[in-house]
Amino acid sequence: MRANCWIGKHDMRVQNVPDPKILNDRDAIVRITSTAICGSDLHLYNGFIPTMESGDIVGHEFMGEVIETGRGVQNLQKGDRVVVPFPIACGSCFSCQHGLFSVCENSNPNAWMAEKMWGHSPAGLFGYSHLLGGYAGGHAEYARVPFADVGPIKVPEELTDEQVLFLSDIFPTGYMGAEMCDIQPGDTIAVWGCGPVGLLAMKSAFLLGAERVIAIDRFPERLAMAREKTGAETINYEELSVHDALKEMTGGRGPDACIDAVGMEAHAPGAIGAYDRAKQAMMLETGRPVALRQAIMACRNGGTVSVIGVYGGFIDKFPMGSVMNRSLKIRTGQCHVQRYMRPLLDRIQRGEIDPSFIITHRMRLEDAPEGFAMFLKKQDDCIKIVLKPH
């Protein structure tokens, strides 16, 4: 089959690779009809995620048709149309039983690597380094889906691929980002990052009852989409001081909750940018936590900082004093996608939301490498790319 492979930093190639096989009884093989490039894939592309091997198949947002099932998979049949969640989860361990699917205790065969880096291991993920399992990803014609009796959700024929594809990751992720804010009537939520994840967090914040949402980014087309498609007010951080603007907009108190939908590769202008960039050059910091620092400082006393942007290792100048002295709550995690797929599919079916509004580009799988380059540089007003392997 054809698959989009990570060769090295800023080097993706579509190559011929063997077709996947059933390895365990609870596996299924899915023929992929749609798959997407995620902001998380950019962290791989930019070489920020360790333990990638040249030739790894990437991609963790995908859906398609079941073409084969292992003996242990009773709930799926050949021909079923399914969306696959990006964390691989067994459904029966302590974490899974508590709905914490992205920290499943049993799905990472390379857990020891993750333990060395993070103390304990989270779940295995599709196409996201050996540290997180070494699973082949979904930028391919076919994929093997472990624990297929737990993860994939069947989707009805009347919904298009584009309407349901994002149940695999970014819609649940944005939703969880908003849910972690514990939104009360009248709340104002600020969201750093108007990428797909941020935009869906904004939509979700309104769905969950927020009164106002304030979106922060610098790309005019993304800020425009935040305004027009989600109803958020916007701040262009290249034009305004984010901290002062948020204060002004909230009567000096600050937003009730702040969502970091940017992560470890935040764009860092000005003096603080020079600081972080120089630190990176001296290899003393792995992420540029610019948005996270701002989110903490801006949040109102006793408010919540919800971190869904991805961080990999260590960050510096983390304003713990602000967190502690002002009774802030920090909530975070890779999304527990399995927990949200059913209720969010229901919302899509009821017409409460159609997450396909973020799609700006559709491409063939063969064009994935150009897609990565374009998405990285946000060229051609690129917000979300969907790939069609078949």
């Binding site: 063997p18 365990n24 790894d56 242990g72 472990p146 001296m282 003393l284 260590f314």
Partner: protein, 313 residues
């Protein structure tokens, strides 16, 4: 438990001299940190030039900050009796920061050749850090090698199944190879008797007969190799009810005393892990098997060695 095991064997540890070598290396790296730190604090302009960074006032101030940090790390390493933790801190920093240095390479403001040289230097330092961290950690993972008593390991895992079930699974020794990676087979040869066979290592399989020495359902099983075996192996496992109805706390203790040392050592290190890590991995697979009915496999984990995560031929 683990600590006790280590302490028990501490006196006969044969690699004491080797440890002092590693500590010398750690000390060297500690001084490297201090040297770099001092340079950054005292001569940020020169350091910026060396690293190929923009030579602005801001950069220099920043470099001074790093300098203080390096100093702290260096002092941390030098002041620890066994600085493994600090060393792994350095490795983690090296690793992640190398990745970040990549982004400096692509920034137009910085001198690429120089940043590349800085990268090469860090790679070299990292190699030292890794070696040193590994060596310092060896024998801290609950599995130390000693001349007289061989390898002794204690590890635990919580399995979300009742003790009766986990005990029943383990008590049938022919199940052990399903999660103990170095075992090829265990055959039941009689009442309380079994025949164990390892996978081939370096073309050689090791076999021995073992007998059950304790059997208290559902709390404890212990076994040991029969006298005259090529390898002296004994083990015990305890099954306790985990608090809060969370299944079973499994506690394993194993010893291998190799004949000449070599086989046992390579046996324990068959899969490239220190012995404690090997047993930990075995228990993880046991947990996967008991909780999910299968051992998790990925495209990259089914074959040994480093290779791409994609389906096998």
């Amino acid at each position: 438990m683990e600590l006790q095991t280590n302490r028990r064997h501490a006196e006969s540890r044969p690699d004491e001299s080797q440890h002092s070598q590693e500590e010398q290396l750690a000390n060297g790296l500690g001084w490297f940190s201090i040297g770099l730190g001092l340079a950054e604090v005292a001569a940020p302009r020169a350091v910026a030039r060396l690293a190929g960074l923009e030579n602005k006032g801001r950069t220099r101030t920043t470099l001074r900050f790093y300098g203080f940090r390096e100093l702290a790390a260096g002092i941390g390493i030098l002041s620890q009796p066994r600085p493994a933790g600090w060393m792994w801190g350095r490795v983690a920093g090296d690793l992640m920061d190398l990745a970040s240095l990549g982004s400096a390479l692509s920034s137009d403001d910085n001198n690429r050749a120089k940043v590349a040289t800085a990268t090469a230097a860090v790679v070299a330092v990292m190699a030292l850090d890794v070696r040193c961290g590994q060596q310092l950690s060896n024998g801290r993972d609950g599995g130390g090698m000693t001349k007289n008593s061989g390898t002794s390991v204690t590890k635990t895992v919580v399995i979300g199944r009742p003790p009766e079930e986990v005990h029943r699974f383990w008590r049938d020794f022919s199940n052990l190879p399903s999660f103990m990676k170095y075992l090829d087979s265990v055959q039941i040869t009689g009442e309380g008797r079994s025949h164990w066979k390892t996978r081939a290592l370096g073309g050689k399989t090791v076999e021995w007969d073992a007998e059950l020495v304790e059997d208290e359902a559902p709390t404890r099983i212990a076994w040991r190799s029969l006298d005259g075996s090529e390898i002296h192996h004994s083990g015990s496992v305890r099954f306790e009810r985990a608090p809060g109805g969370r299944g079973t706390l499994v506690r394993v203790e194993m010893q291998y005393v190799p004949p000449g040392g070599a086989v046992g050592a390579s046996l324990a290190k068959l899969f490239g892990f220190a012995p404690g890590q090997q047993v930990a991995e075995d228990l993880r697979r046991l947990k996967q098997f008991m909780e999910t009915g299968e051992v998790a496999k990925s495209d990259a984990s089914i074959h040994r060695g480093m290779h791409a995560a994609r389906p096998a031929e």
